[in-house]
Amino acid sequence: MPDSGINVLFLGKNFLRLLEGLWVTMRISLIAVILSIPLGILFGMFMTLKNPITRTLSRVYLEFIRIMPQLVLLFIAYFGVTRAFGWNLSAELSAVLVFTLWGTAEMGDLVRGALISIPKHQYDSAAALGMTKAQTFVFIIVPQTMRRLIPLTINLTTRMIKTTSLVVLIGITEVLKVGKQIIDANRFDYPTAALWVYGVIFALYFLACWPISSLAKKLEQRWR
């Protein structure tokens, strides 16, 4: 049965290697997400300041990160920075750095949007009840912002997990790269391996992201 590509998955440690590849993907994206969320919340609050200087600074940062394709950012961090400053960043560290910068910008914009979407009247009626600015923020604004943010944040998390597949281009052996290696190594014995290997990778990505988005849906329903 030379042509049954599915067998490739059970050869040697192939399946385990795919899982290890997935772990690399998940490690990079989860570290970046965990760093991006608090930094993004701070950045989002920073963006709502009325000061023209902080506004310009945050605008420039956000637009720069948004306009640059993530791949270019990865190349700048991994190849460019080493050349320019002589810092020897490992591939994985550059990846975490880039995805954190990107995640912070995106998260910040979500936080800013959620904060300014709270109607001005919520501030007024809290003030009319004698609340201080801090009490208004803690009891009224933050809980409402959180409810708006959670689905958006989870959406961003799954986007970040998917986008980490780019790190293969700075030489990190993650799940896609492992898959490619397996396919290449078995090209002659199992010509149809590609379908099965990529199929498994699809399933793995799905399994990684689906629980996260269904969690988002649940929270959204509960906090409608």
Binding site: S125, A128, L129, G130, M131
Partner: protein
């Protein structure tokens, strides 16, 4: 009589940029008095109320509650606002809290009162407006009239000395206006000091001890309700009241004819 003045506005001016919204308002509100502020839209009625509890800082002039000046940036402002309840046109309940929590939040967190005692008071007030069964509901599950009654209860639960109502029925369906106005009439009957901005003329006439007619940022006329509605002194007030009455116009025969021809 002097010590019974609860809220005193003197020489109040308010500008937004170059635009003058209030141009020198003087007003004394006595304890237990109900003052209704009338006037065309944009005449500064809402701004006057917002200045009264420091949501807007006066450009000039001074507002005193029980003889102490209200300064919107000052340290005492949160203390003073606890004595001034305010209800807004758009209800502004907190959407993430149920009705009971909406009401008890500020008394517990701001006034540091015991939760049990506040809940007892909330129960009494909610029963009075007929909404005790809704205590676990969220604002989005209530009708506009119900939300507005909850907003009134929320303000009352702070035990305010003065209540400000800013066009509280303007966003409501006609059949829900009544239930809100009834609550306010009852409140007035109990001797609450109230300043009310409204477009409900019949209601104003029934509830007011005094009508204040504002136009162009100034007080144009000040009178007891009967006198204001039956015999206004100023032409401006007459014109204003005229806009609330309608006369049936007879259809002109030639127009009917041309209308029929066209169709």
């Amino acid at each position: 009589m002097e010590e019974s003045i609860q809220l005193q506005v003197s020489g109040l001016k308010k500008k937004f940029g170059a635009e003058t919204v209030l141009n020198g308002i003087d007003l004394d509100v006595h304890k237990g008095e109900v003052v209704v502020v009338l006037g065309p839209s944009g005449c500064g009625k809402s701004t006057l109320l917002r200045c009264m509890n420091g949501l807007e800082a006066p450009t000039e002039g001074i507002i005193c509650l029980d003889g102490a000046a209200i300064t919107s940036g000052g340290k005492n402002i949160t203390k003073q606002r606890q004595k001034i309840g305010m209800v807004f046109q758009s209800y502004d309940l907190f959407p993430h809290k149920n009705i009971l929590d909406n009401i008890t939040l500020a008394p517990v967190k701001v006034q540091k009162r015991a939760k049990g005692e506040v809940e007892q008071q909330a129960e009494k007030l909610l029963k009075r407006v007929g909404l005790w069964e809704k205590r676990k509901a969220y604002p989005r599950e209530l009708s506009g009239g119900q939300k507005q009654r909850v907003a009134i209860v929320r303000a009352l639960c702070m035990n305010p000395e003065v209540m400000l109502f800013d066009e509280v029925t303007a966003a409501l369906d006609p059949e829900m206006v009544r239930e809100v106005l009834d609550v306010m009439l009852e409140l007035a009957g109990q001797g609450m000091t109230m300043v009310i901005v409204t477009h409900e003329m019949q209601f104003a006439r029934a509830i007011a001890d005094r009508i204040l007619f504002l136009d162009g940022g100034g007080i144009v006329e000040e009178a007891p309700p009967e006198q204001f509605f039956t015999n206004p002194k100023t032409q401006r007030a007459k014109d204003f009241l005229q806009t609330f009455t309608y006369e049936k116009r007879n259809k002109i025969p030639s127009e009917i004819e041309s209308f029929e021809r066209r169709n």
